[in-house]
């Protein structure tokens, strides 16, 4: 069974908010340690008296979800399902800092209330007075996938439902500093468009929000169809990854045996990119491929950005030049495979079809 993407909105380090066509030019960042989102004008979507309590990621999440709802013409969805790896970090840091600074006394309630992982989905529900199903999944690099899986399962039972489903994560200077010491990021400033060319350890941290309006019945104007998703945890080897991708494609019933395009989550970290290189030179050899993390950076729910990108490319039937791998580009995008992993631990596969 396929699930149809009726509408999608992304807030990212690129000019993606409300975009109905792919940006002609990428946003470039030179000598940076992290990629942060280009923020929309919040007051167009959120009452300033309400927004004053919201941290940056909550405002981005609510704004993105409300834009997705508005563009899809749905006032109240049948469900709001979100996935986030690290939740609302800014408020978490503020709250923990306050505990330390005030010796565990006199804590301000707002950062605590707003720091929970389900703040965004809850705030969206409050904004539109939605009393329907509301859930937030947090499971590192499977967070968005689990949210999507929930939507897919519910749509399998009730195809007529409309599920607002999304992923979000933010990077803050505090979280960057801690994870930098863990060796997750490059130890020098980088230029985002050259991310794959450094051939060193570590990646470039990023952030983003993407929301999708999903339905189980095909309509005119759908962006793309999600045929299947799959996750797998800590594969033993690159060969196991290749085997899993092969099985996944077979399960998806690809008649030609190959997708028209593969979107990889290469992030410029040699320790993690080896999985991609292995299948590029083997199982998926000669299949056109592109990467996306030079546009949004690395974060737990970055696959939601890849899904937004894939859906829009399928809808537009166009691969922008800043994504091109440079060779064998397909004339049509009928089947697109996304393969991403987070630090070699959480691996995910998405299979999309043209509607």
């Amino acid at each position: 069974m396929a699930v149809y993407i009726k509408e999608a909105t992304a807030i990212s380090p690129q000019n993606t908010f409300g975009a109905k066509v792919l940006p002609e030019e990428p946003a470039t960042y030179t000598d940076v340690n992290m990629l942060r989102c280009i923020e929309p004008v919040y007051r167009d979507f959120i009452d300033p008296m309400v927004a004053r309590r919201m941290s940056r990621i909550v405002k981005m999440g609510v704004c993105c979800a409300l834009r997705c709802l508005r563009d899809s013409g749905i006032e109240v969805p049948d469900a709001i399902i979100a996935g986030t790896g690290l939740g609302c970090l800014e408020d978490t840091e503020k709250f923990l800092g306050s505990i330390y600074a005030n010796e565990e006394k006199l804590l301000n309630p707002t950062p605590f209330i707003q720091s929970t992982h389900n703040t965004v989905a809850g705030a969206v529900a409050l904004a539109i007075k939605c009393h329907n199903y509301n859930a937030t999944y947090t499971h590192r690099g499977f967070s968005f996938e689990n949210a999507l899986e929930d939507a897919l399962l519910q749509l399998a039972e009730n195809p007529g439902l409309r599920m607002l489903t999304g992923g979000f994560d933010e990077v803050t200077p505090g979280s960057y500093e801690i994870t930098r010491r863990m060796g997750l990021w490059k130890n020098h400033p980088v230029s985002n468009l050259s991310l794959e060319q450094y051939h060193t350890r570590g990646s470039l941290p990023g952030e983003g929000v993407a929301f999708f309006m999903l339905g189980g019945r095909k309509d005119a104007g759908d962006w793309a169809a999600i045929r299947s998703i799959q996750t797998f945890y800590k594969p033993a080897s690159e060969a196991e990854v290749a085997q899993r991708i092969s099985n996944f494609m077979a399960d998806c019933g690809l008649k030609t045996g190959k997708p028209d395009l593969v979107i990889f989550g290469k992030n410029g970290d040699v320790t993690g990119d080896r999985y991609y290189e292995y299948v590029i030179s083997g199982l998926l050899k000669n299949i056109p491929h592109v990467s996306y993390k030079h546009l949004c950076g690395e974060y737990d729910t970055s696959a939601s950005f890849a899904l937004w990108l894939a859906a829009l490319m399928i809808k537009e039937q166009r691969i922008p030049s800043y994504l091109e791998g440079g060779k064998n580009l397909p004339r049509e995008l009928n089947h697109v495979l996304i393969y991403n992993h987070l630090r070699g631990v959480n691996h995910s596969l998405y299979f999309l079809e043209r509607c």
Binding site: P48, R52, N102, L106, L107, N108, P109, T110, I113
Partner: protein, 85 residues
């Protein structure tokens, strides 16, 4: 008293993140909740923390809270009457 009211207004703007307001725009005699600034119960908690953190003052009962948190002026009067610092 007027100096204390001005200081309190700035502190309220900061803790409640009312960055779009200037101290002059807050009427010290207007109700803080529902009308006036239109604050709610979470804001009340923030104001209670403000009083304790900045002035070392605790509100004893809910009734006292209602009276003290009625307006900026009532908060200032409570501080002036009780602040030993």
């Amino acid at each position: 008293m007027e100096q204390l009211i001005a200081k309190l207004k700035s502190e309220i703007i900061e803790v409640l993140n009312l960055s779009e307001l200037s101290p002059d725009e807050i009427d010290e005699n207007a109700p803080l909740f529902v009308e006036g600034l239109g604050l709610d119960s979470i804001d009340a908690l923030e104001l209670i923390v403000l009083l304790e953190k900045n002035y070392g003052l605790k509100l004893g009962t809910a009734e006292e809270g209602k009276k003290v948190l009625r307006s900026v002026r009532s908060m200032a009067e409570f501080i002036r009457e009780n602040n030993k610092g």
